[in-house]
Symmetry: C2
Subunit: 139 residues, 2 copies
DNA sequence: GTCAAATTGATAACATCTTATCATTATCAA
DNA sequence: TTGATAATGATAAGATGTTATCAATTTGAC
């Protein structure tokens, strides 16, 4: 059970200050109900931190991933998304219409690999129409 | 069973010539045992068509996808790969070591989607170590 | 063989996403 | 409050993948 008290890096590093920007970004990610892109995170955090810049978002995301507070979610054909670490095993649903990515639970995968292949992990992405977009289209 | 005699575009377009370059590219894809990236296709086709350029590879790939001779395969965090169309339903395995992508058959997925979500398709990507890399590492 | 025009290859230009730079500002231990 | 310095924001620069440009070449109907 790899958890890493401190990041894999040597020393504990410099100070690490608690800023309005980082608080806003963490806040957004704590309350997100789906993985978010850096742009979405910026947009959602701006109201809590006027003037927040995209560079700070990227910097904070990198730091939060390093300290394992965040996990990167990669979906085919989209930029990397971010979600809180430590969630139970789950997969993702990408809406054809709005391109948002949702988490889905209870997904079973069974595969037989060729001789000599060893599996370490897997991703499942389901494509379709999300609830909002189904409703808006009335069909 | 959508097959499209002619591409979704209006007219049948201009001539369409049979060139050494296109033949080389089609040949590579016909004999590939896994989805290939544009760079891999260029490298594999070069011996059959000296001086072949990457621009021609991209042009040809686009044309072949348009006429449904090729399908694009998207894997998280990698450039788009291409494989022959018309293969039976299958998924992909990406090697952690060499980053090559293989096709795998016989993969079952079952998921329960939230109310209002409708699935249209799905992708499964399994990560691990391929046969070559397992063998080379002797462990 | 001719020749209009499709195709090619080299490369510049784009698109997109991410990181580096640096002057300015904010943090927080003392 | 002070002050060393971490952090920020604007933006340039980088990385990567793909497309456009255009002169030169190749194709193929005649």
């Amino acid at each position: 059970m790899r958890r890493g008290g401190s990041p894999a890096v040597p020393g504990p590093g410099p100070a690490a200050r608690d800023t309005r920007q980082k608080r806003a970004i963490r806040r957004v990610l704590e309350h997100a109900d789906r993985p978010l892109s850096p742009d979405e995170i910026l947009a959602a955090a701006l109201p809590h931190s006027e003037g927040l810049g995209i560079a700070t978002v990227y910097r904070s995301l990198r730091a939060l991933v390093d300290e394992r507070w965040l996990s990167a979610v990669e979906v085919p054909g989209r930029p990397v998304l971010y979600e809180r670490s430590g969630k139970s095993h789950h997969h993702h649903f990408m809406c054809d219409v709005c391109a948002r990515v949702y988490e889905i639970e209870g997904c079973d995968v069974s595969a037989t690999l060729p001789r000599g292949f060893r599996a370490r992990d897997h991703d499942v992405t389901i494509y379709g129409t999300c609830r909002d977009c189904s409703a808006n289209r009335r069909r």
